[in-house]
Symmetry: C3
Subunit: 155 residues, 3 copies
């Protein structure tokens, strides 16, 4: 791919937001060695939490996918504050996806695929990542999805 990740984000119809502030006494992102890890990102756009409630209840799984996409863009924005250009990323290592789930809802993989696929669309082979997907009964601020991202920088 000759485009930068930032160019592909734009081409895919997305944009990197201003990274949201932490919702408590912590920081949103840090680096150790060549690894950058984010705090759990919620589906904030600015100061507004866009999707609240449980998927499979009053939220549809496509709402969950939209929420996951917002979380992911927030995570990438956080990472960029440390990495500089996203082309400094060697690989996306791990996506932790927590889906606020109504009883009986077991399609967390579908919800998170929106974010996982987007990573591959943006970063190509470097975007292929491991994933843990969990259905969560109660979520901070009643958010629909929470995503944390681990990436490795080129040394």
């Amino acid at each position: 791919m000759s485009q930068t990740p930032e160019e592909r984000i734009q081409e895919l119809g997305h944009s990197l937001p201003t990274p949201p502030q932490a919702v408590g006494s912590y920081i949103p992102v840090t680096q150790f060695g060549n690894i950058i890890v984010t705090s759990g990102q919620l589906p904030f756009i600015g100061s507004e939490l866009m999707f609240k409630g449980k998927i499979g209840d009053h939220l549809h799984e496509d709402d969950g996918s939209n929420a996951a996409t917002i979380c992911l863009m927030n995570a990438l924005a956080q990472i960029k504050t440390i990495s500089g250009d996203l082309s400094n990323i060697k690989q996306i290592v791990r996506l932790e996806g927590y889906v606020h789930s109504a009883p009986g809802f077991d399609r967390q993989p579908y919800v998170l695929n929106a974010a996982s696929q987007l990573l591959t669309d943006i970063f190509g082979e470097k975007g292929q990542h491991t994933r843990v997907a969990l259905g969560i009964s109660e979520m901070p601020l009643n958010a629909a999805v929470q995503i944390a991202l681990w990436v490795e920088l080129s040394s």
Copy 2:
């Protein structure tokens, strides 16, 4: 221990399966630096999910132990695709154990001990690992257990 981990797995009556495919747009295992981390492994044998539902409800905690054992063997099979011989593992670093739990069930440590003990049986002192154990209300594909494993390779 003079046997290899692979020999001990066989002696203990287990076998390394063909590593299962990811159930979404992600990869099952990756390496960064000397660390290999798996995606969350479900109790698949081949394409069949062997244990579905919640422990403490229609599944007994021993079903949970059996499910945890299958998840662990899948995780080791994933790791072997990168590490080559399992004797290249310096230590098992961390086991994340997610137990699909009925209301009131709090014996997640018992369920996961099957996997934790097996790691020590296979790897000896190198198999001693840290662990996070959680009871999860809703699980991808209604699986009974999900396990992710972190290992460190000898450099």
Copy 3:
């Protein structure tokens, strides 16, 4: 800050406990490279689990904060068994906070802020960390809170 972390812990009215034993077939803490990671720590004082049950139900969120503080002190005690002096810590990398939550309780960030703020009070800028906060439906031993901590050592 001219005081050591150990001195600040004392000045803040806390003390490092004897690190609790694991509640299963695992070890409470390990090191890989410059990273120390703990197992999930429960609110044990000695062999007594101090807070059981769900926050937002018969436990108040301030009980949760107290439980989180105990978990954190246990985590620091575990880390000290490997790091020696806590001043060998370069930075607190990540706090994983799992809050046993009654239906509808979404103030996990508030519960965990007790632990997060304490890390900054003890370690200053080095104590600023990333965080994942989840509401958990069922917890090992019915514990109110579980915390795992990742720290980086000075090389």
